[in-house]
Subunit: 604 residues, 2 copies
């Protein structure tokens, strides 16, 4: 097993230097924090992850969660993650002091969770979903719900889940049929089936608090008629006793990856005795859920970035230790009398490693940026500033979820390839990361759905205001970088790409204006790859700018090599990744329509 799963120095560089944590700490909410204290928190998380998470990653794959006699059984470290993690504030971190939290900035929470994800991606989800469901109760639930459920969730004693998907509806939430029938007792009677419920049941929590989307009898069709309920596995009575609430664990889905993270099928109200308590107002369930969704989507991007990071370090270590083959002599031949070289010295292996590095570190920088926007939209006092960061977050969020997931999977594949035949063998961790990360393009809205969100909704927000704001951010970096002769050509390249992107977007909007929405959105996924790649070019140019600045001004927190390597990685991104946008813009400007169904089926 690899000895290291992240480069802590790079994480700190991105957090403190590139994304300037201090700017976020200016918000009143964070008055008690400073960089030094937060750094200690992150060190503690790293130490916890080294000791309690990383050593169990292979074991959790080999001993997957399973369902037996109506119960789900998971690895013992789930208990440690929830209880010790709960104690450390890994569930409650971002909550207000009032709610028992640490009032951490999202930026720090993301960094902390990234470390945990990279150490063992099968574990932090148990805490993350408990956090997410507690957050829904805190924001939208009444005092009784808060008092009854939130403290035990934040301590890790009770698990929390989000119950959206149903077997017949899949991603289409307007087809949710789980039923809520009002009673005169203040609760609703819930009946229905939910699938793909992560962390939905296990032996290490006394209770589970399910946040369930359901339709109150007589509610309008579609997403407008969906309400949100707290449905505990066991109902606490006034003495604190827990009584069964007719929630059944039907099954645990067996999966290709993340096998230690249970994925349950839950049944509600089989015996007509399942009670649910309305959160907030009726018919507002989807709105509430989606207000929390940005956090969830940052979490997915973060998890994928973390797996890509761990895979990068595992394959890098292998490449540094494995002798094989020889370097080419100037006649193109190899001299067999010469000793073997390490595989890290083969250009093709370096290409695969650098690809992993730019995807992993770039993705981390992107999720940190989203987290910073998340903080600033909350803490900024000026309304227009608040709105600016809210719009920026809305625009980038589908990319934040998708780019690390899609490109992370490709990066991990390169990591596996670095090991050759060993990469395919279960003795090595790469094949596990390859399986684990494959769920990320599906989680929390598939790539197809995120892409439609990006092109069909986010680009049109406030008449394109969000895109204008992002463009300004990018132009600002371009201007700043242009002052460095060594980097200017990359800034110019990005400027050119940005101009072409505007043309591409106009040409796509043309379909929307004509009312041909199906055509407008039919190439949304290539558009996602297109805009993400341009955005990532900006992310890398920004990283390089901060490195260059440190080298030029001499205000260095890291070694010269450290900064030079970041600039090298930026160049790699521009040489090997940015050119993809040339082909993608051709696809997007191509007027031929080949994927819209008509009477004659072309698929056979």
């Amino acid at each position: 097993m690899a000895n290291e799963y992240i480069d802590f120095e790079t994480l700190k560089y991105l957090l403190y230097d590139v994304h300037q944590l201090e700017e976020v700490l200016e918000g009143d909410r964070f008055a008690d924090h400073d960089v030094a204290s937060l750094d200690m928190f992150l060190e503690a998380v790293k130490e916890f992850s080294d000791r309690e998470l990383f050593p169990y990653i292979k074991e959790m794959d080999e001993q997957p969660a399973y369902h037996k006699d109506g119960n789900v059984f998971v690895h013992k470290q789930v208990d440690v993650m929830m209880k010790k993690g709960g104690e450390m504030g890994l569930i409650s971190g971002t909550f207000d002091y009032d709610a028992g939290g640490l009032q951490l900035p999202m930026l720090v929470y993301t960094a902390s969770a990234f470390i945990q994800d990279a150490a063992n991606n099968h574990l932090p989800g148990y805490a993350g979903l408990t956090l997410g469901s507690a957050e829904l109760i805190v924001h939208f639930g009444n005092a009784a719900l808060n008092d009854t459920y939130v403290p035990k969730m934040l301590s890790g004693e009770w698990g929390g889940t989000m119950c959206l998907t149903e077997p017949q509806a899949g991603s289409s939430l307007s087809d949710v049929v789980t039923k809520a029938v009002p009673t005169n007792e203040g609760y609703y009677k819930i009946s229905g089936q939910k699938i793909f419920i992560s962390g939905g049941d296990h032996q290490y929590a006394d209770n589970f608090v399910h946040l369930v989307l359901a339709r109150i009898e007589g509610a309008p069709a579609g997403t407008k008629g969906i309400s949100l309920f707290v449905v505990p596995k066991k109902r606490p009575d006034s003495d604190g006793n827990l009584n069964p609430n007719d929630v059944t664990t039907v099954a645990d889905f067996q999966k290709m990856g993340q096998r230690g993270y249970c994925t349950t099928h839950l049944g509600f109200g089989d015996a007509d005795d399942c009670r649910g308590w309305l959160v907030g107002e009726p018919h507002q369930g989807l709105k509430y859920m989606f207000l929390m969704m940005n956090g969830a989507r940052i979490a997915v991007g973060r998890g994928a970035a973390a797996i890509a990071t761990a895979a990068y370090h595992a394959s890098l270590q292998y490449a540094k230790e494995r002798p094989q083959g020889r370097k080419l002599a100037s006649d193109g031949k190899k001299n067999p009398e010469q000793g073997q070289t390490l595989i890290i010295n083969h250009p093709d292996v370096r290409r695969m490693l650098l690809h992993q590095k730019v995807v992993a570190e770039g993705s981390l920088s992107l999720v940190l940026l989203a987290s910073k926007y998340y903080d600033l939209k909350e803490t900024m006092k000026d309304e227009s500033e608040k709105n600016k960061y809210a719009l920026l977050l809305e625009l980038i969020i589908p990319m934040v979820k998708t780019y690390p997931s899609e490109m992370g999977a490709q990066a991990v594949s390169n990591g596996l390839q670095v090991l050759g035949g060993y990469g395919f063998c279960t003795d090595f961790i790469l094949q596990q990361y390859y399986r684990d990360i494959r769920i990320f393009p599906i989680y929390e809205g598939t790539t197809g759905i995120q892409s439609q969100d990006l092109l069909g909704r986010k680009l049109l927000l406030e008449n394109g205001k969000a895109l204008e704001l992002l463009t300004n951010e990018i132009l600002q970096t371009i201007e700043e970088v242009s002052k460095y002769d060594q980097l200017k050509k990359y800034a110019v390249k990005l400027g050119e790409k940005l101009k072409i992107a505007q043309k591409v977007i106009q040409s796509l909007l043309h379909y929307a204006k004509k009312g041909d929405f199906e055509r407008f959105l039919s190439d949304a996924t290539p558009f996602m790859e297109y805009l993400s790649t341009i955005t990532m070019a900006w992310i890398w140019l920004d990283i390089a700018a901060h490195s260059k600045n440190a080298l030029v001004t001499g205000q260095k927190n890291h070694s010269e090599d450290f900064y030079e390597n970041k600039i090298h990685a930026m160049k790699f991104f521009f040489k090997y990744e940015v050119p993809k946008t040339s082909g993608l813009s051709e696809i997007l400007m191509d007027e031929e329509t080949l994927t819209i169904a008509d009477e004659k089926e072309v698929l056979n």
Copy 2:
């Protein structure tokens, strides 16, 4: 489980119409065959695969091969594959009548093995490696080796393997250290370790015949000093009794995929009693092995094409049956009162399905083309024609191995994505195909090694003669297609791409001419993707040309829709795949050098 794993009609179309099996049958060697009899053979293979291979694919994954007490245990269908398959000629098919074979063209053998691979990719390898090792004995071994080993191999009673890789050497065969010490008894004493030996041991064969690369004591260093030996697991004596030959099964590698296909670690001569018999001349081992390598590389491309095909049909069937979501109305909204649509009607799902279709069917066409070249180089009487097809085969073989493997893995990923969350669950087959196909970019020379072969050796063959021949073939298709107004623009596009490719190649050769071979080959892998995509554009244009021709002339063996769909798929390839070459040519023309190691390590 899906009901169909291939589209037999498409296979026949490619075999009979596009690649004109009849042209191959003109060779004297195939005088006894005609299309009708070969069609019956393929029907029998399909029937065998339906009954004996396809039903066991999931079971073989769930009950992987394993090692216990020095023996490897595999699924019972391995016995059926070898014995019944052997009886049907699935091992001996391409061998001469003299050797007990059917004298089948490679083109037909490939089609037959493709069916088996698509049905269950865990099984045909057992037969394929037995065939490959028997072929080495037939071509280069003496009469005694032939008589002793070949008949029992072709009947499937004994297994055969290729033993190349060693733990310390990996892909670098010049570092093979397995030792062969001559004796006065006509045999050598063999000692060493071989790893990643597919089909290296199991309970269903009385004996195994290992073709082992080893170094005769005192042989020169490097690949020049490697010889080839027959090393049986058990030595047959003159009475036909089998005696242990000091070959130990050390382990069975546990893998992420193809878990039913054992991958053994073999030890030779632990007790100093392992005998090997030299095949052909000393120090010629690698040459012999590589003369057989084209067949092995076609087989890898074929297997990957087959898995991509099976995955395509599984996801297509799901998409045709799964209702979810609604089509967009002209206002961009969805009407929840409307019934759900099938997911095949969503453009993004269609895009993923069409991507799978063009990769799977295009890859099949490519491996069939390679097989046709393989036949023609053997059966053509004219020496210059023989040489032409030999060169064409040499040039395309690295692409034949790589394109289906790399793009097939991406296609299967799209297949998994079509199923959403279910795609990740072990109840569905897509996740298995996703794991199974991942070994193909590693098998028989990784993508990196194939890419260096393509750029560093094949492009330079006879001063670029091979590339000139391929270019002429492509230009001929362009000319032919240009007569159809509807298709002309695609022909023009391919012509343009071909011209740019010549510039790209010249600019790369510039480094070779300067003697900077490391730089020349440093972007070999992007070059592989580049030239493969252009080659595949030609493959698809050729398929479309044959379809258009049938529609225009009315000489139809298939429905109009069948032909129209092939043309549609070609258009899809040109819209969504060909543009990749724009970015790739930018990468290849970029003069910046970022992946060549120097003193300062940029990777951390």
